[in-house]
Symmetry: C2
């Protein structure tokens, strides 16, 4: 049992049969009930601030760098020169900030349905929203499914699907129609990356994502695992694919090794290693 | 809060300000109080069986393959032809089983202070103790510190320190004298690997391990991270070093790629990628 004289935030993950708890310094410090979801902010004892949406931890100050770096740099270095990028979801703006580090990028459009996520991130995670005033960044608060459906064909180099779990507002982002629409909007050779939950406890979901991408025209496809302590099982994944011909193994390794910006976790060798999926995962996905 | 009408096992990790809980199918199914520690066995809802020692999760059926593979194969493939191996700790015998997969190995001596850990593993994790009758395996229930102190100089190819946390019986295994004794017992070019806790929440401990190894004569040294959902933060590490001259980057990559045995997580590319430590960790260790 948790010490009862202390404050805790607990996320109970039913499919995993697990729960994770964070010791808090105080009661909830902020919250918003948007038309879409319930967003809460807590001050933890050792992970900095924590944002939860509908009871699920979205990020903490201390460990969000893992997710944000791994959702962006492998995809961007897998494209020969990404200029036009779209982020679906991503309201905390941490992925946007990483994308803007790439000097090939000319325009990033971020489409999150819930403006309140970004407003709370500006207050409580200002280190993540520093890129929002970049002239290349275009923040829209709208329906990502509709935006992608209406996007011009062959118009985007990279699409990043940085969504919440596949329940609630994000459910459609895990469906085959949305992924087909993304592939239509990508240029040939374009790269898509979708957050694909835990390699240990969400294998059926990962398989579904990969099936969607294959059906939509993925020439190559890979699921990269990475540590993410604040998510169930502490282990998360990003599933990448290329539209049409191309190989994810042929990513710009030299550019990644000599990148002109800092990362805390991502590096070219971890990227290359991650492309080799562990046997247990490969077996589960076949 | 956790659903109160269900049974849970919770590990509270004070330094991390976190706790992790597993849903149980039943009350505790077995336990032993040895002269050294309190060992408990639980049947979880989705991670199989769980062994805890003094309240800390040691392993579960579902995810122990990660730790056992990463504590053994990187070290064994970093040696040109490991024949004589010692495991300090390792009472559940999962690391021993992985070591025995290497056909160069002629003798593995495992020294765990607590026979009851192995006896409970034989009952509840029989898939891990299948190697115990191998004629190359020599199981001793004794003090690992004394065994290493008394070991012949230059007699071992690989030493694996598969211990519990650095409190209680394992405390001495994290001290400089024990590591110096290990290096004395290793042949030149021998490889040592020590479980070194979480890259996110135990950086001071990892630094101490590396300082010990450097002081004892490590020619090359690296901390490899890997996912381990049942441990605090879901992210764990193994710190490897070579005695005297040698490079961990020069591991037997071709042998690892063409290995004659199966692994579920370990592969040659993940091994190579892991050798490139993330910048945040390198900064914390300098």
């Amino acid at each position: 049992m948790l010490p009862e004289d202390q404050l805790w935030f607990t996320e109970y993950h039913a499919p995993g049969g697990m729960a994770q708890s964070w010791l808090l310094q105080a009661e909830k410090i902020d919250e918003r009930r948007s038309p879409f979801q319930h967003i809460e902010i807590y001050q933890t004892a050792s992970f900095g601030k924590l944002m939860a949406i509908d009871g699920c931890v979205m990020l903490t100050t201390r460990d969000n760098f893992l997710y944000h770096e791994m959702m962006t740099h492998p995809a961007l270095f897998s494209h020969r020169g990404p200029q036009r990028v779209a982020i679906i979801g991503g309201g905390d703006c941490g992925a946007l900030l990483e994308v803007l580090k790439h000097d090939t990028v000319q325009q990033v459009t971020q489409i999150d349905i819930d403006e309140q996520v970004t407003r709370l991130a500006e207050i409580h995670f200002p280190e993540l929203t520093r890129g929002n005033d970049d002239p290349r960044a275009n923040l829209l608060f709208d329906d990502g499914l509709a935006w992608i459906r209406d996007a011009e064909s062959d118009s985007l180099d990279v699409i990043i699907i940085d969504s919440t779990d596949p329940i609630g507002p994000a459910e459609g982002l895990f469906g085959p129609q949305f992924i087909a629409d993304c592939f239509r909007a990508l240029k040939p050779g374009g790269v898509i990356v979708q957050q694909s939950e835990s390699p240990l406890i969400h294998q059926a979901l990962i398989k579904g994502i990969r099936d969607n991408m294959r059906a939509a025209g993925a020439g190559d496809l890979r699921t990269l695992g990475f540590p993410q302590p604040c998510y169930p099982s502490g282990w998360w994944s990003a599933t990448l694919a290329i539209k049409g011909e191309g190989s994810l193994d042929a990513f710009r390794h030299a550019d990644a090794s000599n990148k002109a910006f800092d990362t805390l976790y991502y590096n070219a060798e971890l990227h290359r290693g991650g492309l080799s999926e562990p046997a247990f995962l490969r077996a589960a996905l076949e």
